[in-house]
Amino acid sequence: MNPTNATRRHVAQYRRVAKEMQSGAVRRTDACDDARQSSRGPVDEGDRVLTIRNLSVEIRRGGRLVRPVSGVSLALARGETLGIVGETGSGKSMTGLAVMGMLPAGGRVTGGSIDFAGRELVGLPAARYRALRGNEIAMVFQDSMTALNPTRRIGEQVAEPVRLHHGASRKAARERAEELLALVGIPRPAERMEDYPHQLSGGMRQRVMIATALVCEPKVVIADEPTTALDVTIQAEILDLLDDLRSRLGMSMILITHDMGVIARHSDRVAVMYAGQVAETGPTAALFDRTRHRYTHALLSSIPSLTHDRGAELFSIPGAPPDLTVAQAGCPFAPRCDAAGDRCRTERPVPSREPGGHTHACWHPLPEPAAGARLGPVVAPSAAVARPRGGSGPGDGNDVAPRLRVVDLRREYPVGGAGPFGRRRTVKAVSGVSFEVAAGETFGLVGESGCGKSSLGRMLVALDRPTSGEVVFEGESVTGRGSRALGPRRAQLQMMFQDSNASLDPRMRIAAILREPLAIQGAGTRAQRAARARELLQDMGLPAGALERYPHELSGGQRQRVGLARALALEPKVLVADEPVSALDVSVRSQVLNLMSRVQAERGLSSVVISHDLAVVRYLADRVGVMYLGKLVEIGTTEEVYGAAAHPYTAGLLAAVPEAHPGAPGSRAAGARVRGELPSPVDPPSGCRFRTRCALATDRCAAQEPPLSVVGGTHRVACHHPLRPPHTTPSAPRGSHHHGSGESQREGWSA
């Protein structure tokens, strides 16, 4: 690319972005990608805003001493985004909090230095630290219902730092707050100033959080999992917003996340953390293309992606991250690493630096690939095991009677009370959904929060009764009957829950948890039930010792295995798994996914996998249904739906998923993004429910509800303007012409 032309082009585009931002419609365009490309490169010493050298943190809790950060060195250059990625307990958040001087109670920096624009932050007196916080260094936290004070107006909360740090008058601070709310894309900011946090959606609350952090124009923003609690489409908007504001306000950003895809798309440089240490760091492209550290490699290989070969088993890292209360000798990853040798176990690896600032701390790094060769999603050759699939091929379900049939299922929940005379208002959670699941087939349900997928899941296993419609299991309706009438048939329908922490009774031992369903159904003698529990546990790959443990003594992954074992205890024919791996860390997630996939195949289970994570559903499901506001908008085989999404919503969802390789970002049609907010399920839009967020919507969409109609094979879509006939390139036709070069990499994704 000719540099002058490139510059000229991106200046022009940048102006456009700025204009759009002022009009309130903040969106990411290619300008940001280009701007990012040109700013990539090794960190210039003179241009650093933040330098962390050999930082160590200790936290004393009761008698225990945890070392969440040990010897971390990182640098942040002016105007760049440094991504810190890692699993739970990797020390990524603690590093961010250490920079903010906000370590939790009992925590202290035990060594190293944090240099912020020439000032040493370690040991800075509290008052001077406070003057910095929220002013020159700001932090954006994960969205939660309580991230904003529930009893104070939004305007006051955004204005607070300006009044505090700049001594602004109430009026000036209000004006500034309003300006910021406009900047972060809050429509009608003057009115929203008077709102309370609960009146905003999650995405809007996160925008307010960002406004609060940026109101004093800090030099450095630390964003700690800023989008983890949000839906993919909202996540994409928020991350783009952060990107835009960073370049617009000339800030530097530290983006802390567990999500490799987010890192790949939104950071200039990456630091991968494991067990309190930086395993590998370098420019994003170099780190993903020429991964050297064994942990980074394993992590990348274990992420189910939209391009992963579905026939192959996911690579999974054995074991769990180390206990940080115990002092570690050697490489912390050694116990889980294939390549670990004696040296790894005894001697801590020294960081070795390569040209371009790519550094890794590994005694046995992966060999450098030949120059120019580009690894796809890295899969260790040993891991590319073909996985057994019990699934019947597409269409098989039509030949025999389906095991589970869902007929025009509806569920409405009353909200609040009726007015003096008014009729009762209802949330239309599920509004007429029909599909079938064949024996041995896995059906995936995807959709964002509030689409009704979990309500649907509960009705499938007769935990909730539909308002109308029915669920037919092996030819007999299971809805509209009491649990007594269902009798033993209920045992055939089982559910695996998302949060195994909440779904396992904390006061029951694992053995008792696994025996309980058998006891309720009166299966076998006590001894037989105990034997069955042991057998189940073994089958799930858990040690027999776990039987006598309580749920809190197990790790998240182990608990989720227990949840699966409990669901399988009665040898059900149908298993509904609601967000089975959402609460798990990446390296543990693939273990559970592989286990589920194996169990489905071995037992000929019909399963319904419900998830917001498109890659998880793609990995597990034979057929997929996409839900939006209580309706199925698209249904077909996994290949059909993912390979040739016909509904604009599906295409938008797919486009919003950040993929864990930096070449991918933006190449999938920025124009296909789903924008705006989910309408209220109390008063869903007329006609097509998606029309309010759809770029293709016409008058017809408002007047007439599109039926599910066949676009080819078993692929059906409910859209008046389906995107494309099947089996063509998946990228959206709109707004994708900048990305010609990206297309070639995407070939694999329909495979």
């Binding site: 903010m100 906000m102 008052a127 406070r130 003057a131 910095l132 916080r133 929220g134 002013n135 700001a138 932090m139 936290f141 994960q142 939660s144 309580t146 991230a147 904003l148 004070n149 529930p150 009893t151 104070r152 607070e160 730092p161 505090l164 740090h165 309370y196 609960h198 009146q199 959080m209 609060t212 952090a213 609040g416 009370g417 007015g419 003096p420």
Partner: protein, 316 residues
């Protein structure tokens, strides 16, 4: 909101009628012959029967209740034959003084308990926190008459700082006009509440301290003092408001002991004296006031919480 208030008032009204019925029938079980009570053990059965017939006490109990209810709705609570006085007048004479005593005790308790609870939460598991908790439990377990007696022994007998008897003035404002004489009753009343309130406030403040908005406030660079006053306090007080609403009738009961201990002429003392005199119309009225305070206390607490926390929408 208006609709909510109207409905709540209607429901409250029905609840109160129910309460009055239950109390009326219970008292009737205890004593079905007011004539005997009024005229004394030595009165002839004929005189008692005459009295009862004259006042309608020989009629079926349901009829008596309907008549009582009808009078109640007209604001007539009956007549105390022992004191030869209208019950409403008796209540009017005493209610203000009792209310002021309770209010003073409540305000003092809150002034101590709210900051103490927050302090304990901030310094959780410290020596201060542990000793405050220990003292709270001891005070909570101490009956208020014992506490009052101890206070009298120490601050009136041992160190003659305050009089042992409360002011006998009939003004409801005596708490302000004669604070020295009212100090011990108010303190006795407050201490018992402080123990409950501060523990409640401590756990509520602990809850709030763990919320994300506190961390966000810290990230804004706010000093701890401002974090507590601007962000934590209001949220941490919300559960306390509900608690106070449910405790209003308990305050009345607390008065009972304190008033008799310090010989303070208020509703509590009136009740105790009426109990000894078997003056049923007064007892009935006093118990009914307890019911009214329970209903009203909860209702007002709900309104206040809704005003302080906009997440709560009042409907149904």
């Amino acid at each position: 909101m208006t609709w909510y208030v109207v409905r709540r008032l209607a429901v409250s009204f029905l609840v109160l009628i129910g309460i009055s019925a239950v109390i009326f029938f219970l008292l009737h079980l205890v004593s079905d012959s007011p004539g005997r009570v009024v005229l004394g053990q030595r009165a002839s059965p004929q005189a008692v029967a005459d009295f009862n017939r004259e006042h309608g006490f020989d009629r079926p109990v349901v009829v008596q209740y309907v008549r009582y209810l009808w009078q109640l709705l007209q604001g007539d609570l009956g007549r105390s034959y022992k004191l030869n006085e209208n019950v409403v007048t008796l209540l009017q004479q005493n209610a203000g003084r009792s209310a002021m005593l309770s209010l003073a005790g409540l305000v003092l308790a809150l002034l101590i308990a709210v900051p103490l609870g927050v302090l304990q939460a901030v310094k959780r598991n410290s020596a201060i926190d542990r000793s405050a908790t220990a003292v709270s439990y001891v005070l909570y377990a101490t009956p208020s008459f014992l506490l009052g007696l101890l206070l009298i022994a120490v601050f009136s007998q041992l160190l003659p700082l305050f009089p042992a008897e409360a002011s006998q003035s009939h003004s409801p404002w005596v708490v302000f006009t004669d604070p020295r004489a009212m100090a011990l009753p108010v303190i006795t009343l407050a201490i018992t509440s402080v123990a409950v309130f501060s523990q409640y406030q401590r756990s509520s403040a602990l809850d709030q301290l763990g919320q994300d908005y506190i961390r966000v406030a810290r990230a804004k660079g706010l000093p701890e003092r401002l974090i507590l006053t601007r962000h934590l306090l209001r949220n941490a007080c919300l559960p306390l408001i509900t608690l106070i609403g449910t405790l209003v009738p308990t305050l009345l009961a607390g008065n009972l002991i304190v008033e008799s201990l310090f010989n303070y002429p208020g509703l509590g003392l009136l009740f105790l004296n009426s109990l000894q005199r078997e003056d049923y119309p007064v007892l009935l009225a006093y118990t009914l006031i307890g019911g009214v305070l329970t209903v009203v206390g909860n209702f007002v607490a709900d309104l206040v919480v809704a005003a302080a926390d906009r997440r709560i929408e009042l409907r149904k």
